[in-house]
């Protein structure tokens, strides 16, 4: 007889794979792996072949020979993984998909100290640009799918969590909508990139759709407990460049007058060393999966505490989730219940401290030696002895003398009932009831003694916000294989209702202590509460989808959605959003069927129309109504001895309507060598018309000078490549290398009600320095957020000459009219590369990300690199960027193109090492340890501290730290 074979089955990341099947080929004998991935199969002949398989993994066959131990690592099967794809309102077989859908599952997520879900997939998806947050703990990323489609309306994708479309707007006190979801609870992350796949979400799909499904229990599961803990330390790899104390003294002694020289101190303070420091974080999660009687469940709790490298900043989140997936009536009724809750406690550090640290005199001490102003050194006005109002405040004082805290509570939940009709099992009815409720409260306290608000008597303010969003969706689905005509139909029709309420009560602005200065009256209130804010909008939709497959290789998908929004007038309310997609699997044609090297080849073509009505960043859900708003108590007008709160007529556009994006997509999906090389190439063009843009209105014709109206067109054109390879796939050794690239070109093609060749454009991109200065412009024929600058002239040694610019229009004067449109913040090309290596119990991987052709306005330099920053007539000294030693600029040259720098970069987001200890604690659990580094290095020519800034203006960004973390996963 044969031997007893034992072994362990692992995933490519080194994790044990429980529940994998080990089968003796050609028989029905087999075994399943246990919670540690171990199996044991008795009586195996030496000539036998074992087949190892698991859903979503490439099966492996191994000849036993005379071994008794066979360990196997099962690689992800990109084809198999995508067997079933989450799409809007249901799932589809991968082979039936006609649109551009990118899916990524938990095993491929980025690792490390990750707080927000979108960071899990940064760099992993072609066409999806995720700009990571600044160093602020809990910070959210900016997500752009195939470039932004809008100018003033939202450019954020729609996010649907377990079937509930959630509110895109950040909750007061939380960085973005996703920050309340624990990344550890996420199973898959699916992006609907093109219009043919997204159009089923109609009015909200113009910027793409992200579908998130969370982990669930499975029927028949044994109780499985998983605990993970991660401890991290983060520090800033780079400091913002400033003059050292000695360089600073030299400048003051060289250029200052006697009064200014007398202001020099004797200390040598590195203010950035004072405000920044290494920070510790921890992230702990416990999840239990199993089945209670016949109810599969998954319950998890998580606790994360993250400190920022900027002292006093802290983020804590407690999250919990419960998923129940019972099946009734012989599986005819499937119930999905998802409840998620989280509580976030944030302490926001005053980020003004960063700018203050950059500009504070390095020769001054941190502490004054007396107890005024909290003991911190402050620049004082010699005539009053009080803090000089124009000078920067002590950077450390800014941090420790402000307590800006918020607590956010949020719960998202839904119940989904899916009933397969007994008399017609091809027909399902699905009802989804969901909610998304959040509440935040905050306090912002500054003691009256603080230099920061000394003249005001400190601050003791409250804030609050809440939102209450409800969803009801219902659809029928009919799926049938019509074998006689070698066809399959999948038809869905449904209805959607969503209601969104946002509220912000108004609080008075209070002092933290009564003050009496210069005989001015004392009082505790700075200003009375203003008008509270409440807004509500409602969306209705009906939708249908037909998916028709012929001979398993010709697929047609058509969708149609009609949507209505309360944001527009009854006549403009309804919009129609159709789409059509076709695909052709060439591989299944007879002429390719036998081509062994080619494992898949599919052509896709899609067209769709999506809409945009999300005006939430413009804080007005009633743009078509003639409204009057009442003024706050601080903006009254005096008649006689009475002050009147005023009623203002608001500008409005009675005819405002949807912004519409038409998109076409053509693509090839391919796979070679059994899927060891696979990927796709997509070409797209998105054209947005009736752009919702805020533009100047003809003076006198409306009750405002800028109105939000449908004007103009915007175009995004691009190409995406994805290549996933498995160069090495051997027993105990596996290497995956994935690469993606996206070219995107963005252009405003019209921005005027009445086109004219002399369009001056719309100034955007506020910068620091002066008041009201802007550096970017929206103009027809140019990409969005193009820099608008004067052309710097240099001397023969290449040094920029202060105030010397090209006189573009030749009028002998340098004015706004000489500014030119020069480069943009949008990258022309962005790349992502990830690799994962598994060797026995070891695993290692990295993620690289690069942006090319993107430019940044170095506002840190433009605002600090001038001698005027050091020497002024305002009674204090300030530090400057060492760049001033090169340029010699005396006065800030804000509009010089010298400060627009190429910010192309390559960043290693993540480097991870793992080791699987296997069974521990007397074989009751499995232990895996990991070591991660995040933000490992950045290669760039950009001179500032970090080349990646979302809107193209680098102004004292909270530096992204480098993070090292050690994690342990324990499974029982």
């Amino acid at each position: 007889q044969g031997l007893t074979i034992t072994g362990t089955v692992k995933e490519s990341d080194g994790n044990a794979l429980p529940g994998a099947t080990v089968q003796l080929k050609g028989t029905n004998r087999g075994a399943q792996t246990d919670v540690e991935g171990a199996y044991s199969l008795p009586n195996v002949p030496t000539s036998a072949t074992l087949v190892f398989s698991f859903i979503g993994k490439t099966a492996q066959e191994i000849v036993v020979g005379n071994r008794t131990t066979v360990d196997v690592t099962l690689a992800d099967d990109s084809k198999a993984l995508q067997e079933v794809v989450v799409v809007g309102y249901g799932t589809q077989r991968r082979q039936d998909v006609t649109g551009s859908i990118a899916a990524i599952s938990s095993s491929e997520f980025q690792r490390g100290n990750i707080v927000n879900p979108e960071q899990l997939v940064a760099g992993k998806l072609a066409g999806v640009s995720i700009t990571p947050p600044s160093g602020q703990p809990g910070g959210g990323s900016q997500i752009r799918i195939r470039g932004g489609s809008s100018l003033n309306a939202s450019n954020d994708p729609l996010i649907v969590i377990d079937g509930v479309p959630v509110d895109n707007n950040g909750v007061t006190g939380a960085s973005n909508a996703l920050s309340l979801i624990n990344p550890q609870d996420i199973e898959t992350f699916t992006v609907l990139k093109d219009a043919s796949s997204a159009a089923i979400y109609g009015s909200r799909a113009a910027n793409g759709v992200i579908l998130i499904t969370t982990k669930k229990g499975r029927a028949g599961d044994k109780t499985h407990v998983s605990f993970s803990t991660l401890g991290s330390v983060s520090y800033n790899p780079k400091q913002l460049p400033v003059l050292s104390a000695d360089q600073f003294r030299e400048v003051v002694n060289r250029l200052g007058n006697a009064n200014q020289r007398a202001l020099l101190g004797s200390a040598n303070t590195n203010w950035q060393d004072q405000i920044f420091g290494p920070a510790l974080s921890s992230d702990n999660n416990l999840a239990v999966t199993g089945a209670y009687r016949h109810i599969p469940y998954r319950a998890s709790v998580g606790y994360i505490s993250q400190n920022g490298t900027l002292k006093t900043s802290n983020f804590q989140r407690v999250s919990g989730s419960l998923g129940l997936t019972p099946r009734f009536l012989n599986d005819h009724l499937r119930v999905d219940i998802n409840l998620k809750g989280s509580i976030i406690n944030n302490r926001f550090a005053d980020q003004a401290a960063i700018g203050a640290a950059v500009s504070f005199d390095p020769t001054q001490p941190v502490y004054s030696g007396n107890d005024k102003y909290g003991g911190y050194f402050e620049w004082l006005d010699p005539t009053t002895g009080r803090p000089n109002q124009l000078a920067p405040r002590n950077p450390l004082g800014l941090l420790y003398q402000r307590q800006d805290r918020t607590e956010v509570q949020r719960s998202i939940g839904n119940v989904q009932l899916d009933y397969r009709f007994h008399f017609l099992p091809e027909l399902r009815a699905n009802l989804n009831l969901g909610y998304d409720i959040s509440k935040s409260t905050g306090t912002n306290f500054v003691p009256a003694t603080a230099g920061l608000l000394f003249n005001q008597g400190g601050q003791n303010n409250q804030s609050a916000g809440s939102r209450n969003n409800k969803t009801l969706e219902f659809y029928f689905n009919y799926t049938k294989d019509l074998r006689s005509v070698r066809s399959r139909v999948d038809v869905t029709a449904g209805y959607s209702y969503q209601d969104f309420i946002r509220e912000n009560p108004s609080f008075p602005s209070l002092r933290s202590g009564s003050i009496q200065i210069d005989g001015r009256p004392a009082s505790d209130t700075i200003s009375a509460a203003g008008v509270a804010f409440r807004t509500q909008y409602t969306l209705l939709g009906i939708f249908g989808r037909l998916n028709y497959t012929f001979r398993d290789r010709y697929v047609l998908t058509a969708t149609l959605r009609r949507d209505a929004t309360s944001r527009f007038a009854p006549d403009q309310r309804w919009g129609t959003f159709p789409s059509l997609g076709v695909s052709w699997s060439l591989k299944d044609e007879p002429f390719l069927k036998d081509t062994k090297a080619l494992s898949a080849l599919k052509l896709r073509l899609g067209y769709g129309v999506t809409g945009q009505q999300d005006l939430s960043n413009l804080s007005n859900d009633y743009p078509y109504l003639p409204r009057y708003t009442i003024s706050d108590p601080t903006a009254q007008y005096q008649f006689g001895n009475t002050f009147y709160r005023t009623l203002r007529a608001e500008g409005y556009d009675a005819n405002i309507k949807w912004e519409e994006t038409q998109a076409i997509n053509a693509a090839v999906d391919y796979a070679f060598f059994n899927g060891r090389i696979s990927g796709s190439i997509d070409v797209y063009r998105k054209t947005t018309k009736d752009l919702l843009a805020t533009i100047p209105v003809a003076a006198g014709s409306n009750l405002t000078n800028y109105i939000l109206t449908n004007v103009g067109n915007l175009r995004n054109t691009g190409v995406e490549f994805t290549i996933n390879t498995t160069p090495i796939q051997r027993e105990g050794l596996n290497l995956d290398v994935n690469f993606n690239a996206t070219f995107n070109k963005n252009e405003i093609t019209n921005l005027l009600k009445v086109p004219t060749p002399n369009d001056p454009g719309i100034l955007v991109g506020a910068i620091s320095g002066g008041t009201g200065n802007t550096i970017q412009i929206q103009t027809v024929g140019y990409p969005t957020n193009t820099f608008y600058v004067l052309r710097q002239v240099y001397n023969e040694s290449g040094v920029p000459l202060e105030g010397v610019y090209e006189d573009r229009n030749g009028d002998g004067q340098i004015t706004v009219d000489d500014r030119v449109r020069y480069q943009t913040a949008n990258p022309r090309l962005f790349l992502g590369m990830t690799s994962q290596l598994t060797y026995r119990n070891f695993s290692a991987g990295f993620t690289l990300r690069g942006n090319f052709g993107n430019y940044l306005y170095n506002n840190v330099r433009s605002n600090n690199a001038a001698y005027r920053n050091v020497i002024n007539s305002l009674g204090y000294l300030g530090n400057a960027s060492p760049n001033v030693l090169t340029t010699g600029f005396v006065i800030n040259q804000y509009f010089s193109d010298y400060f627009v720098e190429n910010a192309s970069f390559v960043r290693m987001d993540n480097l991870n090492l793992g080791y699987n200890f296997g069974k521990v604690f007397g074989n009751t659990g499995a232990l895996r340890a990991s070591l991660n580094a995040q933000n490992v290095f950045v290669i760039t020519k950009y001179t500032g501290v970090d080349p990646e800034v979302a809107n193209g203006i680098d102004n004292n960004l909270y530096p992204r730290p480098r993070i090292f973390s050690l994690g342990l996963n324990l499974d029982f």
């Binding site: 710097q792 002239v793 009028d811 002998g812 340098i814």
Partner: protein, 334 residues
């Protein structure tokens, strides 16, 4: 990308200046006409620069250390009226009605927003011969008819209120003791001031006459707010390092009733001097006041800056105080 087409400033060749005349004699009659036209070649900085041009005038040999600047903007020529040129020549301190040499050049500079010009390039200077004229200002005045001139207000000397504050002064030569009055106009129909009680002025018709006790050159002051008046006899001299006696002693001047001027001829060094009365500093004249940014203009200023003698030599110095508020002097090399 930026490195590829970086704009570089190259210092241009000096521009070439041409003038419409080499000798200009100015008069008040032709003040509004074009007196001089200057034109020059443009400056090429190697890129599309915002070049502004400034014409500079300075005394010959002054090396443009304290020039008068005439902005031409972006134009490559400048037309100057007689009045404008005259004003600027006087600001240079040239003596009116005398031919002087001035150096002229044009400066090209790149304008910088809200800042001083930079990257200046100058043309070679050209020397012009110019003759400015004196610009007299007529201040609010009252008149001093008296026995010494036949009690004729229409021909009487005036005293003026330079600050228009009803405080008047002027210098009047009385050959002998004389009575006089003040009139507000050039006839007796306005307000007439005579002697009131307590040494005050009175506008009453019956008021008696005012008087000077002896002949002489008097500083007459009248304050119609306070109704006070004074008559101070003066004799004038020059003093200063430029004079033979230095700053230690006066060199007296002589009054010439025919021209109503004080005169002296003497050897002067290339140094400074002032005019003073009665061998004291209570009444003294210089020209210009650097503290209040008044340039020397040929008009004397009380307590003004020292007057500079351009070069050593024998000079006729003349001082004319007969035009109230417009006190002038001249230096004529003998």
């Amino acid at each position: 990308e930026k490195d590829g087409d970086q704009l570089t400033l190259t210092t241009p060749q000096p521009t070439r200046l041409t003038t419409s005349a080499t000798s200009v004699s100015l008069t008040s009659a032709t003040a509004t006409n074009e007196a001089l036209r200057l034109s020059w070649s443009p400056a090429n900085y190697g890129f599309n620069a915002a070049v502004n041009y400034t014409v500079q005038l300075d005394k010959k040999g002054g090396n443009f250390e304290a020039p008068v600047n005439l902005s031409a903007g972006t134009s490559t020529s400048l037309s100057v009226t007689g009045a404008n040129l005259n004003q600027n020549l006087l600001r240079l301190g040239l003596a009116p009605n005398n031919a002087s040499q001035v150096d002229v050049r044009v400066m090209a500079a790149i304008t910088r927003p809200g800042n001083d010009p930079s990257n200046r390039v100058y043309s070679a200077p050209t020397t012009l011969s110019v003759t400015p004229y004196l610009v007299l200002i007529s201040y609010p005045s009252i008149y001093v008819p008296g026995a010494y001139q036949g009690w004729a207000p229409d021909k009487a000397p005036a005293i003026a209120s330079v600050k228009d504050n009803k405080v008047y002064e002027g210098y009047i030569y009385f050959q002998s003791p004389s009575e006089f009055k003040f009139t507000s106009g050039r006839d007796w129909n306005g307000t007439n001031y005579g002697a009131g009680t307590a040494n005050k002025l009175s506008a009453a018709g019956a008021a008696g006459n005012l008087s000077v006790p002896s002949g002489g050159y008097y500083l007459i002051r009248a304050d119609l707010n306070a109704l006070t008046f004074s008559a101070t006899p003066t004799t004038w001299a020059v003093i200063g390092a430029a004079t033979p006696k230095g700053w230690d002693a006066d060199t007296p001047m002589a009054f010439d009733p025919a021209t109503n001027t004080w005169q002296v001829t003497l050897d002067l060094k290339a140094d400074e001097f002032k005019f003073r009365a009665n061998s004291a500093w209570d009444l003294n004249f210089g020209d210009g006041d650097s503290k209040t940014n008044v340039n020397p203009d040929g008009l004397l200023d009380y307590n003004g800056d020292n007057i500079k003698v351009p070069s050593a030599g024998r000079y006729l110095i003349r001082m004319n105080l007969s035009n109230p508020g417009n006190y002038t002097y001249s230096l004529t090399k003998q």
